[in-house]
Symmetry: C2
Subunit: 141 residues, 2 copies
DNA sequence: GCCTAAACGATAATGATTCTCAATATAGAT
DNA sequence: ATCTATATTGAGAATCATTATCGTTTAGGC
């Protein structure tokens, strides 16, 4: 139950938080902007404020429930933390996001940080390119 | 001469553009925000508008003279394009930025994109950690 | 030097995110 | 189950970064 997750995170169990968490769990698209989350909820008939969405997302992130990404669009994208770490490849035409994990890259990152005298705590790797999905516009050329 | 670079980029040689380009070339810090560039110029006694800085940076980027980065701060950071491609590691305490290039990572990225059916066109890799600089606050434990 | 399109600086407008505040709901204690 | 202290909410104002507008100035081909 989502209530458990909130309690474990030290957050009160409130209706808006449950709505947001449930949406993040059930949505097909795993990577969403705050505005998108808000819009989906409102379109689904829920009454909720945009500020509440931002607040909840910030709290979820602080609690480690979600992660935030800064793809090239500039807008912050949120993603429910489930499963192991991964990085992303984004289609510059249709915006589709695929996930991948590469042991070699992860290992090299640790070595690079160490060689530069840094204590590595995090990283962000995003590849950009054109996908081969049938739905991707402008394909074929 | 900077005038050459502007002409080669198909841009008119104007005083503001020269000021900005010169600053980017002479500044010790290679990675700067638009606001920082603007402030440095104004503090240096120049008369220039913030909008002009943004405009020039956008044009420089379109011409391939500079690149833009989205580190975790969210703010866009600009960097003069000189020398070969590289990625970055940012200190989460003092903000210091170091550069690196890793052949293995670059190669793996190409392989990953290909295996996922993407035509790779770009990528952004940033490592975050704590540096060992003497100036870095909060160091020591 | 003249002329016209491009560029400039100031400032208004926009888009994303955060803050403020009065009303409401939660969690714990009766 | 009810009460209470406090955290949370929703609406809208405020802020921050960035972009658009517009009247004035300037670059550069003739
Ligand atoms: Mn993901
Ligand atoms: Mn760099
Ligand atoms: Zn695509
Ligand atoms: Zn540091």
């Amino acid at each position: 139950m989502d209530s458990e997750e909130l309690r474990n995170a030290g957050l009160k169990v409130t209706t808006p938080r449950l709505k947001i968490l449930t949406l993040l769990e059930n949505s097909a698209e795993r990577h969403m902007t705050a505005e998108t989350i808000y819009r989906l909820l409102v379109e689904g008939g829920e009454v909720i404020g945009l500020a509440t969405v931002y607040r909840a997302l910030a709290q979820f992130e602080a609690a480690g429930l979600i992660t935030r990404h800064h793809f090239d669009s500039g807008q912050t994208v949120y993603e429910l933390e489930r499963g192991p770490h991964h990085d992303h490849i984004v289609c510059i035409r249709c915006g589709r996001v695929e996930e991948f994990y590469d042991k070699v890259i992860e290992e090299r990152q640790r070595e690079i940080a160490a060689s530069l005298g840094f204590t590595l705590s995090d990283h962000a790797l995003t590849l950009y390119g054109q996908c081969n999905s049938a739905d991707c516009p402008g394909r074929n050329g």
